[in-house]
Symmetry: C2
Subunit: 315 residues, 2 copies
C-alpha cells in the first residue's frame, strides 16, 4: 500500500509503534507537541538530512539501509564530539507513492542503529510532497567531559585516524555497476558511526576531532582551518585494499588513493593529540602531524601526494 492511501495519521501511528520507548530520562515521550527530556550533562545537538538519489541509489538500496543512514550520519557527528547519543528526532518528507511496508522497514533500520547506541526516537514530523524522499534527523547527546572540537589542534600534535576511509565511495561505484564487491558495498550501505571510539578517544584525552564525512582531504582542511594550523598527513596503503580489490579497481579505472583522499561517507574520525598520547591501543592509526600554519593540508596517500578536494554532497 502507498503511504498516501494509508493516510498521514495511520502512518504516524505505525511509526510511533516502532519507536515506542519508556526510557526514564524522558518525562514526555512521543505523542505530545514536543518531547521533554532530562539530560545527564551538557547537550550536544546536530541536524543532518539524507536524500533519495543524492545519498543513496533509489533502486539498489535496501529499505533498512535508508533509515540506518539517516541515523548514522547524525550519530557520527555526536561521535566526533565524544558525546553519548540520547535522542533522535525525525522529520520525514516522502512522495505519496512510497510503499508503506518499505517505509516501516526503513524506520526499523533507523531504530536498530539507534538501539545499538542507546538512542531513542522521540517526536517527529511526516509530510507527503513531490520530490525525492528526505530523512532529516536531529541527534541529541550528552557529554561527560569536555567535547572534542574542530578548533583544538595544536602545532606539534600527532594526527590520528580512527576507522577506514575510501571504501564507501568505491562501494557506491560497485553498487551502481552491479559489481560483486561485498565489503565495499557494505561500507557504503551500512556506515558505522564510531560512537564508542569517540567516547574512548575523548576519555583518553583527545581534545580535537572531526568526522570524515566528505573525504579525508576536505575534512582535514576543515580541521586545519578551524584550528589555524597546517596538517601534514601521510596515510599508508589501507589494509582493505586487497589484491583482489586492487584488480577490480584497475579493471574499472579506479584509484584507491583518490578514493581515500576525496571519497565521502566513510564516517571515520580524524583527531589530534599531543605527542605524549599513544592511541594505538584504541585502534587509531597515526597518520601525520600538525605544524604552525594557516589551514593548509599536505596529503600523501600510499606515498603519493594527493590534491586536497573533498566530496561535496549536492554540488
Amino acid at each position: 500500500m502507498q503511504v498516501r492511501q494509508a493516510g498521514e495519521f495511520a502512518v504516524i501511528q505505525q511509526l510511533r509503534g516502532i519507536f515506542d520507548t519508556k526510557r526514564t530520562d524522558l518525562l514526555v515521550a512521543n505523542g505530545d507537541d514536543a518531547a521533554v527530556w532530562q539530560p545527564d550533562g551538557p547537550v550536544v545537538a546536530t541536524i543532518d538530512s539524507v536524500v533519495a538519489g543524492v545519498d543513496w541509489l533509489e533502486d539498489r538500496t535496501p529499505a533498512a539501509a535508508i533509515g540506518h543512514r539517516a541515523a548514522a550520519v547524525n550519530l557520527s557527528d555526536l561521535a566526533a564530539m565524544g558525546a553519548h547519543p540520547r535522542l533522535l528526532l525525525l522529520a520525514l518528507e516522502l512522495p505519496g507513492e512510497t510503499d508503506l511496508a518499505d517505509l516501516l522497514t526503513a524506520a526499523r533500520g533507523l531504530k536498530a542503529l539507534a538501539d545499538k547506541h542507546d538512542a531513542v526516537v522521540v517526536g517527529g514530523d511526516l509530510g507527503f510532497s513531490p520530490g525525492p524522499a528526505r530523512w532529516t534527523v536531529t541527534a541529541l547527546g550528552t557529554l561527560q567531559g569536555p567535547p572534542m572540537r574542530r578548533d583544538g589542534v595544536q602545532p606539534g600534535d600527532v594526527i590520528w585516524l580512527m576507522g577506514a576511509v575510501g571504501q564507501a565511495a568505491l562501494g557506491l561505484a560497485a553498487l551502481q555497476w552491479g559489481d560483486d564487491q561485498p565489503a565495499l558495498v557494505a561500507a557504503h550501505l551500512w556506515p558505522q558511526p564510531l560512537v564508542q571510539a569517540g567516547l574512548r578517544l575523548r576519555d583518553a584525552g583527545v581534545r580535537a576531532a572531526i568526522d570524515v564525512s566528505d573525504g579525508l582531504g576536505l575534512d582535514a582542511q576543515r580541521l586545519a582551518q578551524a584550528s589555524g594550523v597546517d596538517l601534514h598527513l601521510d596515510l599508508p596503503r589501507p589494509v582493505w585494499v586487497t589484491p583482489e580489490i586492487e584488480r577490480w579497481l584497475i579493471a574499472r579505472g579506479l584509484d584507491w588513493r583518490e578514493a581515500c583522499a576525496g571519497g565521502g561517507d566513510d564516517y571515520a574520525l580524524l583527531c589530534s593529540a599531543s605527542v605524549a598520547l599513544d592511541l594505538r591501543h584504541l585502534g587509531a592509526q597515526p597518520i601525520g602531524e600538525a605544524r604552525a600554519g594557516s589551514g593548509r593540508v599536505h596529503l600523501r596517500i600510499g606515498g603519493i601526494a594527493q590534491a586536497v578536494q573533498g566530496f561535496r554532497h549536492g554540488d
Copy 2:
C-alpha cells in the same frame, strides 16, 4: 545569483554570518560537528518541516515569511508545552536555482522571530536537490516547571482558547485570489507563536495544552483522545469577523464557522484548567468544558454545531 552557482560552502558561510551568536549557554556554537549547550532545565524538543507549495504559496509569499514560518511552527510547539525557547537547528533542502538573496532574506526572517523569543540558531544542514524547498527546524527549549501536556485534561475542567482561530486559512484563500484582506493575509503569512502566553498559562497552573495547528476541531480531538475525556466546546463569533470581512466571505462563498472549526495554521493554544482558575486576565477565552468520556469533541461555533474535521497537511 542562484545558490547552486554560489556553491554550498559559500552559502553556508553567509548563513552562519546571519545566525552568528555568542550566547553564554553555548559551549560550542556554529561551525563544529555539533553544537554544545548547557540547558537551564529539562529540555523540550520538537521538529517540524515547512514545504514550498504545501505550507506557503511559492509565488505570493515574501521571502522573510518563509523563514518566519519555519521558526513559528516549532516555537508554537514549545509554547504549547510552556517552555522557554533556547536553540533552533535548521536543515535546508533547496532547489539549486533558489535565489541567494531571497534565501538570505528568508534566513533573516527566521532569525528575527528567533530573536524575539530568545532562541538562537546553532548548526544546520544545507543540500541542493530537486523538488520543492523544504525548511526543517528542530526547536529546543527548557522548562522551569511542569510541562503542559496533551494528556492532562480532567473531567470538569474548563477549556480555554488563547489566540484566534480561522483567520489563517481564510488569509491563505485571500492571498490565492489576490483579495485585499490584509488582516487575514497577515495571519497566514506571519503566524505568531504564543510563547509568552504559554509561559504565563503554565505559571498560572495550566497543566494541559495543545497548539491549534491543524484546526480547532482536530486538535481538540487530539487533546480529548490523549486525556480520555469528551470536550464540549462552544466558540462564540470571533471579533475578527467584522461586517466587512463577513461581506467578503459571503461574496466568496466562504464560511467563518468552517474556517474556525477546520482551518489550520493559526497557532492558537487550546488548554484546560480546573474551574478554580480564571485565565481571562491572561487574554484566554473560556470556550467549553471537559466531561468524562472517550475522546469525542462536540463543537459549536457561533451557535451552530460543526463537524469535527481538521486540516491535514499534505493529505
